[in-house]
Each structure stands twice: as structure tokens, then as C-alpha cells.
């Protein structure tokens, strides 16, 4: 893969092509209401993908994000019923996310445990706490003013209320990753933890904070999820963790850390959302959609490798040819 056609660029191109092709073959696809729907539909995934990009860039991973979001969602419902104040409930939910992230961060950075194993454990723990908190009940009496935020559009536009949140956070995370010292540190830690420590980068503290931020944003996503579905339930956001990770990896972030761009990830989330919507509108059955998701994820790792081997092969061949020519 040459630098000109790096994977993140390719994903962006794919996104543009998909939208263009979609608009031609299906007028409903490019309509405002469908656009709004797609944005709403990817909301939580996009939110969590932003900090997850940071984490994976540093070579860590957090599988507990969906459980964190669900727990925050449950706390939102529980706190709303207990306090009668949505402001209190929202604070409690985000706070829950922060605590969940801090627990992950503590176990990984202080005890030196592998983040994969730790977050498999907290994935079960946090989800279990959801059930412990709400049991078999569903909280569905959020004030209408709030739930409207979850699923209606900004007046005069087809865009859901979550749009500005997504844009602001995506830009903010992008700026931090690509323009600030913290962002440089993230790249550095992903490229070589050891060199980062020698360069005085507070690796453990940085990672701890990333876990906390991931938890906080997952908590936020839990609130968005609750409002979108007008209910808080212990099985909310089930399975989102793999959706998020697949998006981040598809966006060109290396699972080994140190490589990736925020706009690649954002493009990937939008692309996968668009493809899915387009196929759905074309009546492609759900079964095929599952295969396509897996196929795209595989393609995101297979294609760069095959392309690299192909170009290496061509280079070798041209060298051999050049050597053979007198």
C-alpha cells in the first residue's frame, strides 16, 4: 500500500463511492430522512469508537464498553426514578462510566494485567451489575422532552439531535489525536512503549486516563442509547463492543497500535452504516448482511497484506528483469 492510497484514505473513498452509487441506484437512500436515520443509527458506535481508537492506538483494548454503556444506561433509569431529576441521572450515568473505566484502567496499568483478559472479565461484571440493579424491570418513563432528543430531528433539518454531539466529539478527538501533545504521546506509546517511557511519557497515567475517557464516553453512549429507545434495560447495547472494535480496525487502526487516523475511523463507521442501510433498502436479507460485515473486516486486514506482497513481488520481478537485461 503506497502512502497515497493508505487504508484510511481507501475507506474514505469507499464511503464517497458508496454514497454516490447509493444515490444513483436508490433515490430513497440519499434522502434526508434516511441520512438522518443512518446518523442516528450509528450514534453510539461512533461515540465509543472515538476513545476506542485512542486505546487501540496505544496497544490496549476495552471489550467492556458495551457493558459499561448498558450499566450507565441502567443507572440513568434508576437514578431518574430515585431522584426525579434528569440532570442528576445524567451525571450519575456519566459518573458510572468514569468509574467503570477507572476500574479497567487500574487493573491494567497498576496491576499490569492484560487489557484483553481484564475487559473480558469486566464485560461480564458490569453487565451482571445491570441485572443486579434493574433485575427484570425496564425503566420507560423518561420525560418526553428528553426522549424526544433521542429520536426526533433538529427542527428544520433531517438531522437527529445526536449529530452535533457526534460532530463536536469527533472533531475534538481528532484534534487531540493529531494535533496535540497527548495525541503525539498516543502514537508514541503505540509505536514503542519502552521508547515512550524513556522519553518521559507517563505511559501508565496516559493509559489510565484513556480508559477513564473511554468509560465516560461509553457512559454518554449509554444515555444516548436509552433516550433513543426511550427505555433503560439491563440488556441494552448488547454486543456493541465488537461492532466498535470492528469499526476501528476497519478504519485502518492497527491492532498492534501506533498506526491510525481519526478520520479513517469516522469514515469507517459512516461507511459501514451506509453500506448496511443501502443493502437493507435493497432488500438484502439480514443473513447476507452478517457475512458482509465479517467479509469487510477480513478485507481490511487481508487487502493491505496482499497488496504489499503483490508490490514486493512486482518490484522483485522488475529487478530480476532489469538484471537480466544487458
Amino acid at each position: 500500500m503506497s502512502r497515497v492510497l493508505s487504508w484510511d484514505r481507501s475507506v474514505f473513498v469507499l464511503l464517497v463511492v458508496t454514497v454516490a452509487v447509493g444515490a444513483v441506484i436508490d433515490p430513497d437512500f440519499a434522502g434526508g430522512s434516511n441520512l438522518g436515520f443512518v446518523l442516528q443509527d450509528i450514534g453510539e458506535i461512533m461515540l465509543i469508537a472515538l476513545p476506542m481508537t485512542f486505546l487501540i492506538m496505544t496497544g490496549e483494548i476495552d471489550l467492556s464498553v458495551a457493558s459499561t454503556a448498558a450499566l450507565a444506561g441502567c443507572v440513568l433509569g434508576w437514578a431518574w426514578q430515585a431522584s426525579g431529576s434528569m440532570a442528576v441521572a445524567v451525571l450519575a450515568a456519566v459518573g458510572t462510566g468514569v468509574v467503570c473505566g477507572a476500574v479497567n484502567g487500574f487493573l491494567v496499568t497498576r496491576l499490569g494485567l492484560g487489557s484483553l483478559a481484564v475487559t473480558i472479565g469486566t464485560l461480564g461484571l458490569y453487565r451482571g451489575l445491570c441485572y443486579a440493579l434493574l433485575g427484570d424491570t425496564t425503566v420507560a418513563d423518561f420525560p418526553a422532552g428528553w426522549t424526544n432528543l433521542g429520536f426526533s430531528s433538529i427542527p428544520g433539518t433531517p438531522l437527529p439531535y445526536v449529530t452535533p454531539l457526534l460532530v463536536v466529539l469527533a472533531v475534538a478527538f481528532g484534534v487531540v489525536l493529531h494535533l496535540t501533545r497527548t495525541g503525539r504521546w498516543v502514537f508514541a506509546v503505540g509505536q514503542s512503549v519502552e521508547a515512550a517511557r524513556f522519553a518521559g511519557i507517563p505511559v501508565a497515567r496516559l493509559k489510565f486516563r484513556l480508559f477513564v475517557v473511554t468509560g465516560a464516553v461509553a457512559g454518554l453512549a449509554g444515555i444516548v442509547y436509552d433516550l433513543r429507545f426511550a427505555s433503560a434495560r439491563p440488556d441494552g447495547a448488547l454486543g456493541f463492543e465488537l461492532a466498535v472494535i470492528a469499526s476501528v480496525l476497519f478504519g485502518g487502526v492497527s491492532i498492534f497500535g501506533g498506526v491510525g487516523t481519526m478520520w479513517g475511523v469516522v469514515s469507517a463507521v459512516l461507511f459501514l452504516g451506509s453500506v448496511r442501510s443501502l443493502l437493507q433498502l435493497q432488500g438484502v436479507p439480514g443473513n447476507a448482511l452478517t457475512i458482509i460485515t465479517g467479509g469487510l473486516l477480513l478485507a481490511s486486514v487481508v487487502i493491505p497484506v496482499v497488496a504489499q506482497r503483490w508490490s514486493a513481488f512486482r518490484e522483485r520481478r522488475s529487478r530480476v528483469l532489469a538484471a537480466a537485461t544487458p
Partner: protein
Amino acid sequence: MVDAEPLVRVRGAAKAFGGVQALRDASLELFAGEVHALLGENGAGKSTLLKVLAGVHRTDSGEVTIGGGPFEQGSTRRSREQGVAVIYQEPSLFPDLSLAENVFIGRQPVTGRGAVDWARMRRAAAVLFGQLGVDLDPDRPARGLSIADQQIVEIAKALSTDARVIVMDEPTAALSASESERLLDVARRLRDGGAAVVFVSHRLDEVFALCDRLTVMRDGATVHTCPVAGTDAGEVVRWMVGRELTDLFPKTETTPGDVVLRVRGLTTDGVFDDVSFDVRAGEIVAFAGLVGSGRSEVVRAVFGIDRYDSGSVEVLGSPLPPADPRAALARGVALVPEDRRQQGLFMPASIARNTAVVVLSRLARRGVVRERAERELAAHWAQRLQLRHGGLDQPVERLSGGNQQKVVLAKWLATDPRLLVVDEPTRGIDVGTKAEVHRLLSEQAGQGLAVLMVSSELPEVLGMADRVLVMREGRLMATLDRAEATQERVMLAATGQASVAGEGSAA
């Protein structure tokens, strides 16, 4: 030297990696029953040639024969089957497997039904260890084994294959004196048993003590082969570097100023013990000693990379908190680490990014790192250190070793330190760049910088240092002033032959 026909013959071997010609015209003849030294500077092509014999690489052209017939290249397994065993500089054992299994991996003795015969394997390993004169438990896992013992396991592995050709790539680099001696004995025994032993070492004394013949390589080609008996060290060095070595160490005379670094009683159990010393402004203090004597560990602890168990570190009169590199940085301490690729650089990142990574906050305005300031900084240092590069956006992984080292130095000098700690500042870089680095360090010290240098190269230590601290087995054995530091004294202290050489014990 016994047979007329060499056991292994390499003629005109060439090998390129990408655009780099690692071997151009390498030749080597090995006879059964000799220890053959292979010498040359880093990058001369020794490792590549060895890896051809090991089956890791395949030559592009040239001829390799073994026992008179063609040598089948390109498979480590085939190499072994053809009687070649290689002991690498960095032993690569399997930490989770037992020592016995490490010796026999892939060739474990099996019972009639094809099951691994653990008891037999254990006994066989014990016999091998016995032959090598070490007391190692064949059942213990390799994890946590000292480098010397790992080396022994590697040799046991070679012995167990009944190898005809045994290649040792810098086997003694990390060994203590007695361990080295034990190893040389082993090599002699192998030779007496009729094997051809290839011995790569930078310690010429060992070469002269052990080897029968030597081959010198330079720039991918063999430049000289002769019996050891008829030559001496100076001649060998000239063959290696291709010119006379003069004025390598442009030492600037300075008057030491205030104490910048004061270390007292620094101890980490099992690593180093009760280390105390001072470094003054304008002074270059060198840590000498064998690899593994704890020098690097001490400077890592001083800088805060590792935690220490007891002792104190003061910078400019006030204590430095332990295990906090940022605090050390803030107080003007910089550490150029030992392992450039792993610890010094972010290989995929650009020259500019690498240069600026420690001083980002200085380059940021309202939190946003200004790319222009970053590039200006990098350009400044690139020019100052005469960095040869293809643009500041070039990833450092594409630079040569010497230029990479310059980037590391630039990165740390950019912090404008009061104390510069350099760990093996010239390891693996070419002679020309080496001199540049030495000149730079001298110059910086001349301007009042305190320099603490760890080096395994005695000439560098003797040529550069105002004071020499000698470590052995985690203990500070001697402190020698520039005037009293001689090669003999340093080596004696480092190898424990005359423990404290009398003068200037540790502070």
C-alpha cells in the same frame, strides 16, 4: 588446519536486502579441528554470512560447500541436518520450556511409539550440562536464566546435534570473566573433538587466546585471512577499519564545576548493590565494566525508568523522586538509552516527530503542537549534528544506525539538559560517526554539561572520561581518575582479578 580440504568453503558470496548490499564478496574457509575467528566492524557483513550458514538467509550469488559437496541453503532445519549449529549473541531460548527441552526442541528423544521420552531427554541434558561443567536443573524453565547460562544451554544444543561446524556469534559479550573462561574451554574442547568452530568476538584478547586462524571482513567482503600466530591486535584493527585510528577522542579539557548528580547507596535487590557516586558540571564520568555488570540498570534507576529498593538520588542538591522520568526531565536530566531501536526511537515515526517528542509542550501553542516549530527544531539539530537524511518527514527506520543515533542525541540535547546520561553512545555505528559523537559530547561537557557515560568500549572510556567508575556484578569496584585509569586497571577491576585496585574507592 589438519585437512587439506576445508570442511566449509564460502566463495564470493553476495547478498542484498532491498537496496543494501550486505555481502559483496565474502569468502571463508573452515577446517575441521580449528577455532576460526571472524572479525569485522558492525555492519561488515559477519552476521549476514553467519545467517547464511545458519540457513536463515540465502546468498544471491557465490558458492557455499560443506564437506566437499554443495551446501543446501535457506532452511534452518536443513542447516542443522548438515551439521551446522549457530549460537547467537542474544540467545533465543523458549522461556516457558524446560532447559532439557530447549536443548532438544524439534529433536526430542522418542520412545518406540513416538512419544517424547522425557526421562531420557532429562538425562541426556544433564550429561551435556555436566560436560560443560555447569550445574543446571534440566527441569527448570528457561525463564529467568542468566545470559551466561542461556548461552550454555545454546552450546549444549549445538553439542547435542553432533555439529561439525559450530558458529558462536559474540558468545562472551555478556559473560563474566569466569563464565567467559569456561566458555573458551568449551570451545577448545569442541575443536579437539574435531569440530570447526567459528568464533566472533570483539574482545581481541580472547581471539588471541583461543583462535587458530582469523578472517577479517569489511564492507561485506573478506579482506584478510591468516593464522593468528603471525599477527597482532593493531594489525587486525587496521584491517577491520581500513585505516589508521588517530585522534578518535577529541577530549576538551574542562574544570569540573558543582556537583550536578549525587547518588548514594543505590540498591535494587539482585541487580545492583550500594552504588554511590557524583557527577559534576563539565565532567564526563564513564561507567566501565562488562555487559551485565549492572551499569545500565544503575542509570535506568537514576533516570527513573526502574524503581530502586533503597538509596537516594539528588540533582543539583535536591532529591529526585524515584521512578519518575518526567521529574528527572523537568530537572534537566536526559538519558540516551542503550537500545536505540527499542528504547531510543519510534521507528515508524518521522525524524521531526522523534526529535520533538520530549519537548512537545515547548512547541505547543494553546495545546496545539505547531508543526512548523517542530520542523524548525528538527532542522536545527539535523544541521548541528550533520544528519544525513532524505527529508525530515522520513521515518527513522530508514536511516542508517549512525544517523539514527544522531536523532536520539538530538532528541535529548533538544531538552537542553544539565546532566546527559548516555548509555553505549556509539554502539554499532561507523567509525566516522563515532568520532562526531565523541566530539559532540566533549564539546557539550566543555560548555558545562555534566555527562555520565556507560560504555563497553575501553578506548572510548579511557579517551573520553574524566573519571572512570568500574562495576562488577552490581557493585562499584573502583573509581579511577583520568590519570590513573589504564586499560589494565579497568579490566582488573571489571573482571574481579584484583578487586579494588587500591586507589580511589567508591565515594
